[in-house]
Symmetry: C2
Subunit: 367 residues, 2 copies
């Protein structure tokens, strides 16, 4: 099944104590990706799967397959727990497809994100890490006393930013429409790329300075007075705009001869390649998210920022850019954290809500 | 000369008292556009001109023409006052072209922006206005006592955000690489547009909901719990990403028949038109700048935000989007202001620095 999934699926597993597990299939259906989590009895592990939301029929078939292979084909042994916008948009479809399940529950997206993240932070070993290109990856064991408050920046098709004061207290403080959907949408329009992996591999080999306008391109040097280095990106894609040549009339009305004028008119025909474009846009979107996350963390006086969502997918360049942005803007005062299962916060939270029958929040949160 | 200028030049005029005027040509050479201001003796008005920075030879010819037509062809009567990154990058070229001028002075970009803006706010009638689509344009006479502190968001190729406490006290608090250069660069890559006017006219007729993913596209309704309307843009360009079709293997391994499944696979062949794309990107960039400006204004507790720079060029959709973003994020607590001569803050500030011989700051600010 891996082959057809544009965002190649990550089948991750986490060992769990079967005693506490129900026959639950948790789904988190977002704008671009549908994620699911279930417990595989045979391997005694949690299984995580992802498929594009536009392949919703395929996603339904995946759930049927799971019921066939893990629950003896009997819907009546299964509870489907759904979150994300698709829990509402596709509720009728879920009811049609799975008429005999115990229940098709709908859970609030933000509550599930936080519940899932809290679980990953506190319960899963080697889940949380810091990353930047210079220092590499460092596993982190968050100290319980210092976890709250934190900020969650969840990057899917768009971006949601949540301030979390405790497992039960959080606020959506902001967001951005410039997220994963923007990166893939623009890149597929420009490059014709068919898969996200193709774009990421292009970005890896690219040189963004062929398309980005740097401070040095404008100043010819650093802009020392305000501390901007010559290599700082002043304008993403600032070198690209192509113009028409001057008309004969323009040339006639300006008849001075210039001995050493540098007219860059030939640049308009320069070609831009997919690698450079991919890297530039990855930088632009990631930097922008990092900056907005920093500004929100500053406003709310929060030191630690967790980045989740399927935008990241363990890609080092993306994580380095987010880390760099947080460090650059905060002068090292804020810290970016990443997660191994970054794309499954919502699905994991939905799964957990029904695990513990004694969890009062579980019932309250049902829609 | 208008015809060849991709960002069509605005030749604006402001009457001035000749007594206080020197023979000054002020230039502000940015990453994408070179602007100039000079005083035309014959009409007793200030003249404002713009040309692309990549046509730097043409810009030099424009200055030669001004000297020929307004200063009897004598460089020795003229002082050139330069700001923007190009004041440094093209300093040698200016010296070669104009070896006999009184001086080629270099002035700091941020200082000139503030000096120019202060002048436009305080001295030029009907310069400042508010705008949104519902209420239209309203001229504003800023009360002197309430002008400071304010924030200036200057949008050129990139974005600079300045906090201004008084004419002599300001700080560059932030910026963004997602500015005018990003909009034109990406749009010219995608649409092949040759002029900014072409893109703006396309944007005017477009429908961004053909390419943007709205909250309603994800939820099928409002996301009422967090107050996001179904028409809110969740992901800019979120509908665009095109994927490959599922393979035969995929279909074979998922053999369930789905009676009423909605597989949107046919959507991948949908065409996207230039108008929809232009409108979406104009919204995305403007919204993003508005959000970052709001967050900075919130951090620094500043109620009034002035938007300057050639990105805006009096375009109503752009101003409405910026105003909307400020109002949306601040719940009406912050106010966006615009300027008739928004693109000439730096050039105007450079011009003014040398107008008053008694202005102590003038000498201090020379580089």
């Amino acid at each position: 099944m891996s082959q057809d999934v544009v965002w190649s699926p990550r089948r991750s597993t986490i060992a769990r104590d079967t005693a506490e597990l129900e026959s639950i299939i948790a789904v988190d259906i977002g704008g671009s990706l549908a994620k699911l989590v279930f417990f595989a009895m045979d391997s005694k592990k949690l299984v995580f799967e992802t498929v594009e939301t536009e392949k919703i029929a395929l996603f339904m078939r995946m759930i049927h397959d799971i019921i066939d292979n893990h629950y003896q084909g009997s819907q009546s042994n299964v509870r489907i727990v759904a979150t994300g916008g698709g829990a509402y948009k596709f509720h009728d479809l879920l009811c049609q497809e799975f008429p005999d399940v115990i229940e098709i529950a709908r859970l609030d997206e933000m509550e599930c994100l936080i519940k899932g993240l809290d679980y990953f932070i506190h319960e899963v070993p080697e889940e949380v890490f810091t990353y930047n290109d210079l220092e590499g990856e460092h596993k982190v064991v968050p100290e319980h006393a210092k976890v709250y408050p934190y900020m969650l920046v969840n990057i899917g098709s768009g971006v949601s930013i949540l301030k979390v004061d405790s497992p039960a207290k959080f606020t959506r403080v902001g967001g951005s429409s410039l997220g994963g959907g923007t990166l893939w949408g623009l890149l597929s329009l420009i490059t014709g790329a068919k898969t996200y992996d193709e774009m990421l591999s292009w970005a890896h080999g690219g040189d963004n300075t062929h398309v980005d306008m740097l401070v040095g391109d404008i100043y010819g040097s650093n802009y020392g007075k305000i501390g901007l280095k010559s290599t700082h990106i002043a304008s993403s894609f600032g070198k690209v705009f192509q113009r028409t040549a001057p008309t004969q009339k323009d040339l006639a009305t300006h008849s001075h001869t210039i001995a050493n004028g540098t007219d860059d008119i030939q640049l308009r025909n320069r070609k831009f390649n997919n690698s450079d474009i991919s890297k530039s846009l990855l930088y632009a979107i990631s930097n922008n998210i990092g900056q907005i996350a920093y500004l929100q963390a500053k406003i709310h006086n929060i030191p630690n920022i967790y980045f989740g969502g399927s935008y990241i997918r363990g890609h080092l360049m993306t994580m380095n850019t987010l880390s760099y942005a947080i460090n650059f803007w905060s002068n090292g005062e804020k810290q970016a954290f990443f997660l191994k299962h970054e794309g499954y916060l919502g699905a994991m939270g939905a799964f957990l809500t029904f695990q513990n029958k004694n969890d009062d929040l579980g019932d309250e949160r049902r829609s």
